[in-house]
Symmetry: C2
Subunit: 225 residues, 2 copies
Amino acid sequence: MQLATVPRLPSHADIRSAEILASARLAFVEKGFDGASMQDLARVSGMSVGNFYRYFPSKAAIIQAMILRDAAEMQHDFAAIITSSQPLMMLRQVIRGRVNDESCAKDSDLWAEIEAASRHSPEIAAASDTMQAQVLAHFIAVFAAETGLTIAEANRRFSAPAAYVFVLIKAASCLSCAPPLDQAAVRTMILRSIDLALDEVAAFTAPPELTMSSDLTEPKDPTCA
Amino acid sequence: MQLATVPRLPSHADIRSAEILASARLAFVEKGFDGASMQDLARVSGMSVGNFYRYFPSKAAIIQAMILRDAAEMQHDFAAIITSSQPLMMLRQVIRGRVNDESCAKDSDLWAEIEAASRHSPEIAAASDTMQAQVLAHFIAVFAAETGLTIAEANRRFSAPAAYVFVLIKAASCLSCAPPLDQAAVRTMILRSIDLALDEVAAFTAPPELTMSSDLTEPKDPTCA
DNA sequence: CATAAAAGAATGAACGTTCATTCTCAGCCG
DNA sequence: CGGCTGAGAATGAACGTTCATTCTTTTATG
């Protein structure tokens, strides 16, 4: 992410912007995109509203930057996955970690907000779509590495399960709002569905007559318990 | 909503309120809860803002009423399901109809909005939770009818798959926003997962030693193709 | 080193707009 | 007339954004 052409090191303003994004995220989680005013954002960032505009020209720009920064972070995560020795297995682990609430509870509110805002703001929708396309592309890359197919071929064959897994992860992330639900049980069932979908992809590795579909019903999860 | 004790027939004001809810829904879909102003709502309802307040005391009240009216409508749908000869099969059909985009595209934006608003408004969260609890209770009722268990027992055994199915339906409903996704394929996969979960419930009909878990991997969907 | 000049960072009051809500008043039916 | 329904202007608060201004740091100069 750092660079393609110019190896610039982060300036003071860049650091400040990152800090602003981090604290603005908290305000957005608490009050929503519309609920959090610019004065709120400036206050939680520990600066005046006037100065705030030196870093971001508008409210929409903050949201956009926040989404794109998340996308960049995810690029980083996926880089670790794709370069590992067993990409698909590592992908499973990362998904498992993401779905289990600790880390994603923070993001859950934000995702709901982004989902809703995307319907009315083309800018936010564009940022969100960019992120989604990146995730799907990374899924496809992992699937291609796992099966030995080319990216193009993997894309043709596996775009549906990739999207399916993506949707399931999102569904699991948005779970924390409903008190009467047995969240842990639902999470487990969702993870099982994801594992099954990934098993189907993995089963494509060898020539069709050599696929061992027997362990299809046995998700290998040493980390789950 | 109407009442339990007095069978009142809808007054003029009730009719007007219903019309307002219908047109307000359109405005909310287009602009979002925060984006649509009271002036907007009054205008699309064909009346002045002052008069508008004679029917709903606040914006939150409109949203709340809208959700509760949807919940009441759904109660009606479920009444048809539970009284049919094969409740579970009819439930499958209704779910299938709901997930296939025609009818739910309208609701999709609204659901995203409600999800987000629930995080910040306790009133909306309460209405949303009420609706969700009702749906789950109806699922359980269908499961109980199908398996012959008591409601209490069905609730103990099947609350997890009920919640799971609910979450999947919601996930499928919120699908329309993402252009690069192959929506039809994902919808099919989600429906397959739902069918599998319902198959597991249905498999509980007979005594435990007679359950045939073999057809678990074979979803019977003549309507899918 | 001292100091003046320039640049950058930060402030909070002020602007115009929009919002949810309230108020005042006009018509209408008995 | 009196009690409704309805209209739309009025209100004050809050919003996103801008602005003139003040602090702080850096740089140049003697």
